[in-house]
C-alpha cells in the first residue's frame, strides 16, 4: 500500500470515528405530558402567569397547536414583562426544527420590542432556553430558566 492509499485509509477511519462520536441518541420519552408539565412547573410560580389559548400560540409563536400532540403556553400576566414558557410534545421529530426556528424568531422579535425601554427584559430573553429532547421540547424565558430546564430533563 503506497502512502497516498494509506493516508486515504487513515482519513476514512478518522472520519468514521468522528461520526460515531457525533451521533447523539436521545430516545423518545414515554412520560405522560401532564406529568412532564407538572414536574417542570414546580420551579415556576404559575400564579404570575396566564395560560394562553390556541389563538395566542398562532399569534405570538406562529405555531399551530393542532399540529402537535400536546402543547401549553404560559405568558406573564404583566404585559411589560417578557417572561413566558412553552412545553410541547411533538407528533414526530421533524417538527422540532420548525418549532425551534419559530421560537428563535419569537425571541428575536421580543428582543426588538423590549430592547428600547426595558433592557432587563431584553437581557432575560437573551438568556432564554430552548431545549429539544427528541419528542419533547421546552422554551422558557425566566430568571431561573436553567433550573426549569433541569426540572424538565428530570421529568422526561
Amino acid at each position: 500500500m503506497n502512502r497516498y492509499k494509506a493516508g486515504q485509509l487513515f482519513c476514512i477511519i478518522c472520519i468514521a470515528v468522528f461520526m460515531l462520536f457525533q451521533f447523539k441518541q436521545p430516545s423518545d420519552s414515554k412520560k405522560n405530558f401532564e406529568d412532564v408539565v407538572q414536574k417542570t412547573i414546580e420551579k415556576i410560580d404559575v400564579s404570575q402567569f396566564e395560560q394562553q389559548d390556541n389563538l395566542a400560540m398562532k399569534r405570538f409563536l406562529s405555531l399551530n397547536p393542532e399540529e402537535y400532540e400536546n402543547i401549553i403556553y404560559y405568558k406573564d400576566i404583566d404585559a411589560l414583562k417578557s417572561r413566558e414558557f412553552v412545553i410541547v410534545k411533538f407528533k414526530n421529530s421533524k417538527q422540532a426544527s420548525y418549532f425551534k426556528l419559530n421560537i428563535e424568531n419569537r425571541i428575536e422579535n421580543q428582543i426588538n420590542v423590549f430592547d428600547g425601554y426595558a433592557q432587563d427584559q431584553a437581557d432575560l430573553l437573551k438568556e432564554a432556553v430552548i431545549d429539544i429532547q427528541s419528542n419533547y421540547a421546552l422554551y422558557v424565558v425566566l430568571e431561573n430558566a436553567k433550573e426549569v430546564d433541569n426540572a424538565f430533563l428530570l421529568a422526561l
Binding site: 492509499k5 486515504q8 441518541q25 430516545s27 399569534r59 406562529s62 414526530n92 424568531n105
Partner: protein
C-alpha cells in the same frame, strides 16, 4: 461567525486583510489565510473544524492517489473518495428522511453541503483530468476552507480557482470592487432581507387571502436578498483577497421563463449540477426518454441538496416539470409572448415554488396555496392590513431592487458625470454601509436562511 456581524466587519476582516497585505511571501500569505479560515469556521463550534481538516486531508490523499493510478484502480479510488463524502452528507442530513423511526440526532456542520460539493468538484476535476491533483496541501486547504465561501458558497469549482490558489496578488481595482460588492451585499441582507423577514414571520398565522399573498411575496423577496446579499459579500471578500469568483445571482426575478430563472438563481449550484451530473449523464444529447430522466435526476438532487424534507424534493421536481413543459410545449409560445406576460408567468410559478420551499411540510404548503386562492380564507384580516400598510414601501423597494435598476442607474450616472459621479457614488456607498451597520447593531439580526444548508 457570519458576515453581517460587527465583530467580523470591524475586527476579523480588517485583521485578515492587514496580514494579507503586509505579508509578501506567497506561502506565508496562504498559511495565514488558511489559519484565519479555520478560525472563522471553528468560531462557536470548534468540533466541526475536525471534520473540515479530515476532509482536506482525505481529498488531498485521494486526489494524489487518483493522479498516480491508472485504469480500474483509478476508478475505484475515485468512487471511494466520492462515496465517503456523500455518505457523510447522507448521515448528517438525510438519514432521518429515509429512516424516520431512528431516534438519532446530528448537528449538521455549518456549510456542510457547500464544502462537500467543493471537495467533490476537486475529485471529479482530477478524475476527469480537467485538473492535476494538488500536491500542495496548503493550496488545497485554501480552496476547501477559504472563509469567503465555506459557509454559504458560492460553490466555486476547483478548476475555476486552481490557478489563483498559488498566486492571488493584491489588485487595487479588484479590491475596490470587492468593497463595493460587500457593501451592496450587507445592505441587501441587513436592511432588506431582515426587514422582510419580520413581515414574513408575523404573517405566518394569517388566515386571509391578502395575508397569505403578503406572506409568500415577503418570503420571495427575503430569500433573494438574503442569499444574494450573502453571495455578494462572499464574492466581495474573495475580490479583496485577489480571487475572481463568478457572480451567483443575476437578477433572477427579471427572468422571462423558468429556464431563464435558473440561469440567474444560485448560478454556482446549477452549474455544479450541470457540469458534474447533467452533462456526464448525456445532457440533452440523448434520446427524449433519457433527456427527461436526466432532468428529473438533476432536479430531484437539486431539491434534495437543499434539505431532507419532501417539500424540497417536490420543489426541485416542480422545476424539473416546468423546464420540460417549457422545452416541449411552451417554447414557441414564450418566444412570441410580450415580455411582461413572460415576467408575470415566471413570477407566479416561482412564487408557488417558494411556498413549498418555505413550508415545513406539504400540508402546510398546500394550505398556504389554498388560502392564496381563497380556500378556507377570508379576503383580509386586520393583521394583514396592518402589515400591508406598514410594509408596502419596503415590498415595493424590494421589488424594484430585485431588477437591475441600480446597476443601470449607476452606469448612466458614471457615464454622464464621470469623476463627480464617482465621488458622489462613493459617498452613497459609505452612507449605505453606515445605515446597514446601524441595522446590524440594532439587533435586527436574522441568521442567513441558507445557513441551514
Amino acid at each position: 461567525m457570519t458576515f453581517n456581524n460587527v465583530f467580523f466587519i470591524f475586527l476579523f476582516l480588517p485583521v485578515v486583510l492587514f496580514f494579507n497585505f503586509i505579508i509578501k511571501n506567497k506561502i506565508l500569505k496562504n498559511l495565514f489565510l488558511v489559519l484565519f479560515s479555520f478560525l472563522f469556521y471553528a468560531w462557536g463550534n470548534p468540533s466541526t473544524l475536525v471534520l473540515l481538516i479530515l476532509y482536506i486531508l482525505f481529498n488531498y490523499f485521494t486526489g494524489l492517489e487518483i493522479d498516480n493510478s491508472e485504469g480500474k484502480q483509478r476508478t475505484i479510488t475515485f468512487v471511494i473518495g466520492i462515496s465517503v463524502q456523500v455518505l457523510v452528507l447522507f448521515l448528517y442530513k438525510y438519514i432521518k428522511l429515509l429512516f424516520p423511526f431512528l431516534s438519532v440526532e446530528l448537528n449538521v456542520p455549518v456549510g456542510l453541503s457547500f464544502f462537500t460539493f467543493s471537495c467533490l468538484s476537486y475529485l471529479i476535476d482530477v478524475y476527469t483530468k480537467k485538473s492535476r491533483a494538488q500536491s500542495n496541501l496548503l493550496h488545497l486547504s485554501l480552496y476547501i476552507s477559504f472563509f469567503g465561501k465555506i459557509s454559504m458558497g458560492p460553490i466555486v469549482q476547483y478548476n475555476q480557482m486552481e490557478k489563483e490558489l498559488e498566486h492571488h496578488p493584491f489588485q487595487i481595482q479588484l479590491f475596490c470592487d470587492g468593497i463595493k460588492l460587500f457593501c451592496i451585499g450587507l445592505c441587501k441582507k441587513a436592511i432588506l432581507a431582515d426587514s422582510l423577514s419580520i413581515v414574513h414571520t408575523n404573517l405566518s398565522a394569517s388566515s386571509s387571502v391578502l395575508g397569505s399573498w403578503l406572506f409568500a411575496i415577503s418570503y420571495m423577496l427575503q430569500i433573494y436578498f438574503d442569499f444574494s446579499g450573502y453571495s455578494d459579500m462572499a464574492i466581495g471578500i474573495a475580490n479583496m483577497f485577489g480571487f475572481h469568483f463568478n457572480k451567483n445571482f443575476d437578477h433572477p426575478y427579471n427572468a422571462l421563463s423558468i429556464q431563464d430563472f435558473w440561469r440567474r438563481w444560485h448560478i454556482s449550484l446549477s452549474r455544479w449540477f450541470r457540469d458534474y451530473i447533467y452533462i456526464p449523464l448525456g445532457g440533452n444529447r440523448v434520446s427524449n426518454g433519457k433527456y427527461i430522466r436526466n432532468i428529473f435526476v438533476v432536479w430531484f438532487l437539486t431539491g434534495l441538496w437543499h434539505g431532507a424534507n419532501w417539500t424540497f424534493i417536490i420543489w426541485g421536481l416542480y422545476f424539473g416539470c416546468l423546464l420540460l413543459l417549457e422545452k416541449y410545449v411552451l417554447k414557441d409560445l414564450l418566444e412570441k409572448c410580450p415580455r411582461f406576460i413572460c415576467h408575470i408567468y415566471t413570477w407566479i410559478l416561482v412564487l408557488i415554488s417558494w411556498v413549498f420551499f418555505m413550508s415545513p411540510n406539504l400540508t402546510q404548503a398546500f394550505g398556504v396555496l389554498g388560502k392564496m386562492i381563497g380556500i378556507n380564507a377570508s379576503l383580509y384580516d386586520m393583521n394583514a392590513l396592518f402589515y400591508l400598510r406598514s410594509s408596502v414601501v419596503l415590498i415595493l423597494i424590494g421589488i424594484v431592487f430585485s431588477f437591475p435598476v441600480y446597476e443601470k442607474l449607476e452606469s448612466y450616472v458614471l457615464g454622464r458625470w464621470k469623476q463627480k459621479a464617482s465621488i458622489a457614488l462613493t459617498i452613497v456607498y459609505v452612507v449605505v454601509f453606515l445605515i446597514s451597520i446601524s441595522y446590524v447593531i440594532s439587533n435586527t439580526f436574522q441568521s442567513f436562511l441558507y445557513f441551514a444548508f
